[in-house]
Amino acid sequence: MTLRHCAHEKEVMALLRSGGWPAACDPDLREHVEGCSLCAQTVLLKSSFADALAHAKDEARLQAPGVLWWRAQLRRRNAAVQRVNRPLAGAQWFALLINLLAAVALLASQWRHLDRMTAWFSGIANGPVFHPATLWAMMAQLPGWNLMILIPFIVAFVVLGGITVYLASER
């Protein structure tokens, strides 16, 4: 495709932009525009678009700039708070990971006592009533398995894990 070009096009455009067309136009240039399809096209388009722009500007329904300003401030503030909170969220996830690792380590260390633990739980489940005295007696019968350590550990794990998950989900 050949891009045609007219040497007078810029001159015509400048007149149209300044509002000098056609009143302030040189007669020779007007005569040229009548015979030049490119310049005639420029005049047609520029005057049409200027007219459309004027109409569209009248149609515009503008918001108060103050509302936009405060909404932008709010958005900037939220973005800044989110940016600053990012390390805290990282710390929460780190705490969760440590908890999980501790749980895995505990399970691994107590794995060899799993049979006894299963028997102990089934003993409680099958027993007529759960008595602390019975539990205490059973604990005393289990060598190498100290419930005084295990139960607080499990309780602490559950509480800390719950708090960590809560804090992570709150974000």
């Binding site: 047609l44 007219d51 500007k57 149609e59 700039p65």
Partner: protein, 189 residues
């Protein structure tokens, strides 16, 4: 403590945020008054939907104010604003519920274009409605906003050399449409 550190950092961050405002409230109000009508006209005529133009204009100003650094001078700020608006238009067209910018049927706009119906007396409306959205963008920026090829390239993200060719084709097409609709309204000397 990590909490003390975090709270101090939060306060510092928020304080820095307010200190680093690229434009104050009064300056923005003045800039808004000078630029909003032109921006709305651009969005409404290119997307063919005044309600969508309202939303996009609001979002454009919010993103403009959210920028950490604005270009120097009103002309550059205005160009930057038009660039944001153009990107928003592209994002809108790229969303799954709509087709891509190049696949949109042209007559769809002609049928649903409320703005075109509202200014039916203006001869450009029906002709623009038959143009592709990208052609409308280029034509509007060139002939309504008087941007140069380089400025249009900066706003639209297209190459300056491509603008020349695309604009040449678009202007030929819209001129033909205008003449077909209004054969008697050829350029009057």
């Amino acid at each position: 403590m990590i909490w003390d550190y975090s709270i101090a950092r939060l306060e510092t961050g928020v304080a820095a945020l307010y200190a680093a405002q690229p434009m104050d409230s009064d300056a923005f109000a003045a800039f808004y008054q000078r630029s909003a009508r032109s921006l709305w006209a651009y969005l409404a005529r290119v997307c063919g939907n005044p309600a969508l133009a309202d939303d996009l204009m609001q979002e454009a100003y919010l993103r403009f104010l959210g920028a950490s650094h604005l270009p120097d001078g009103e002309v550059a700020c205005r160009r930057y604003l038009f660039r944001i608006a153009t990107n928003l238009l592209h994002d809108h067209w790229r969303r799954p519920h709509t087709a891509s910018i190049d696949e949109l049927p042209e007559m769809l706009f002609a049928a649903k274009d409320g703005s075109a119906a509202s200014d039916a007396h203006v001869m450009l409306g029906p002709a623009l409605a038959q143009m592709r959205p990208r052609d409308r963008q280029l034509l509007w920026l060139a002939y309504a906003e008087d941007y140069t090829h380089n400025e249009i390239a900066e706003i639209t993200g297209l190459k300056s050399t491509s603008i020349r060719l695309l604009l040449f084709r678009a202007r030929r097409k819209v001129a033909r449409l205008l003449r077909n609709e209004h054969p008697a309204e050829r350029v009057q000397a």
